[in-house]
Amino acid sequence: MTAWLYHLNALVLGLFILTAIAMVVTRQISACLQVFILQSLLLAASAFLLGGSPWSWHLFALGCVTIASKAILIPWILRSMIPAEVYVRRELSQSVQVPAALVAAFGLLLVGYALGIPLNAAAHSLSPANVSLGIAGLLIGLLLLVVRREAVPQILGILGMENGAFLAGIAIAPDFPLIAELAIAFDVPVLAFIVAVLARAVYQKTGSTEVGSLSALRELI
């Protein structure tokens, strides 16, 4: 039974890294949000599978909390606080074109493996693939932040980074004391709320949420 859970987890991981790359590629903001919800659900699925046997209450709670906060609460906060017309927009200008961003995402996947393989060799974890792909997911979230100019994809980039970090975390530290559940349950919705407030303020001030083009503050260097 344990072997089947790990194999299903491998499938889930493949889809997870696919969603990470898909978030970089999609141009529509609402599509980006939907892919993020899918990514969070996959993270929860991985937590449920890894906590299946031997049974771990922590991982089960982590999965439930992830679904509640990242798949339900955060999209609700983002959709209700930021005006709807922002979501139907398509990002026409990106600082890096899609094919180049795809190649960069692939390069970051390799970096994730480059970091993950020596780590897995040094210590035991529930699922070595989680570690490598989690680090890769974190780096690809960082790429999303760098490539996009709109506010919502940047927020989703940060949350995607956290998804990647926690994907690695559930395999590394399944009994991490209470903290992970507390963090997600409390911290991330607060984060989303404050960020949404700020994005709405930017929207009301400048008429668009293209925060990447705000460049009034600059040094000569």
């Binding site: 072997a3 089947w4 194999h7 299903l8 491998a10 499938l11 991981l13 493949g14 889809l15 890294i17 696919l18 790359i21 898909a22 590629v25 899609v98 094919p99 795809l102 190649v103 995402a105 692939f106 996947l109 390799l110 493996y113 393989i117 070595p128 693939a129 490598s132 792909l133």
Partner: protein
């Protein structure tokens, strides 16, 4: 002779071993094998227009129209075979030969891939998956030549676009094939299918699902489905895949259409039988098991059709220069599958 690419990277020829269930190369084995091959050819020939008809009808139903009947492609083919042909005087032998090439190529491929049986048949080791890819490319090559040969202004336009999509898709196909062969230690489709089958644990890996998704995107690109091309459009300036059929008429057109249906069927069979769901194929050569296998393979192909209908109804056609983004994404997915497979161990 097939090629076996092992993990050490050495390429060595394998000997054609007789399949499970027959331990000697004998005359009865040859007759049985030939009969099974004919069954597979008949299956592909017969089922492909039906699949095209079901796909068209489902798309129309989703759009709240009534659509043509499921058997309409058969009626179209029968009508076309009875008609006269009009061939341009300025064209050369290529225009005459191409319909036959297009018709025969998928049939050759059928001999190489597991359609109904999961044990290798007579021609199984004649060519591996790379050969499948190249043979299919040959038909595309002849298509482009014929389109230019006819002198129709829209032909070369569509041909150049088809070539563009073709060369963009080729690296994806090669990477998918290489990854699969790394996994299964062989490039022969039958052996790959066996590898996914037993033990079942081989089926589940992160790279597997990425390969399936990458190959599905390849099918969408190669067979001219949305989001790459609108298969039910009539506007010549926007045609990519449909432009090839513009110059043909009569029985040539019938052969070209049928060849197109069979190409789609063959690619779908590769996706379904070799990559995704290797179960349900006949292990014995008896008639009941072959009938059961036909029904199961048909059901699996219907699932692929459902997926394609969902994709076609949900997305819109991409602009020409965005096709690179789409196929680039397929490439990255396949490369990710390769990396996950190689580095994940």
């Amino acid at each position: 002779m097939g090629l076996a690419i092992g993990r050490s990277g050495m390429i060595a020829p394998t000997t054609a071993t007789p399949p499970v269930g027959a331990c000697y190369v004998s005359r009865s084995y040859m007759i049985e094998s030939a009969a099974l091959n004919l069954c597979q050819l008949a299956f592909v020939l017969g089922v492909s227009p039906l699949l095209a008809g079901i796909l068209q009808k489902s798309k129309e139903l989703v759009q709240s129209k009534r659509g043509p009947g499921i058997l309409q492609p058969y009626r179209d083919l029968r009508k076309l075979f009875a008609k006269d042909e009009a061939v341009s005087e300025q064209s050369s032998w290529i225009l005459v030969v191409t319909p036959y090439v297009i018709f025969v190529v998928p049939l050759i491929v059928t001999l190489l891939i597991p359609v109904l049986t999961d044990f290798p048949l007579f021609f199984a080791f004649v060519g591996d998956m790379l050969a499948v890819g190249f043979i299919l490319a040959m038909s595309g090559f002849f298509f482009s030549l014929a389109a230019i040969d006819a002198g129709n202004p829209y032909g070369p336009m569509g041909a150049s676009r088809t070539r563009m999509v073709g060369f963009l898709v080729e690296p994806v196909i090669i990477i998918v094939l290489f990854t699969v062969s790394f996994v299964a230690d062989s490039t022969i489709p039958y052996i790959v299918q066996q590898h996914w089958l037993r033990p079942p644990a081989n089926f589940f890996s992160a790279s597997h699902i990425l390969l399936i998704i990458a190959f599905f995107m390849v099918i969408l690109a190669e067979t001219g489905r949305i989001p790459v091309d609108n298969s039910s459009g009539h506007f010549e300036l926007a045609m990519i895949d449909e432009s090839k059929a513009l110059e043909f008429s009569g029985s040539s057109l019938a052969l070209v259409k049928w060849g197109g249906y069979m190409k789609f069927t063959v690619l779908a069979i590769v996706l379904v039988n070799v990559l995704t769901t290797p179960w349900g194929l006949a292990s014995l050569g008896t008639i009941p098991s072959m009938l059961l296998a036909s029904a199961l393979v048909f059901a699996k192909l219907l699932t692929v059709l459902v997926l394609i209908v969902i994709v076609e109804s949900s997305f819109s056609k991409l602009r020409l220069f965005r096709i690179t983004d789409f196929v680039g994404a397929a490439f990255i997915v396949s490369v990710t599958a390769m990396v996950t497979e190689l580095l994940g161990q």
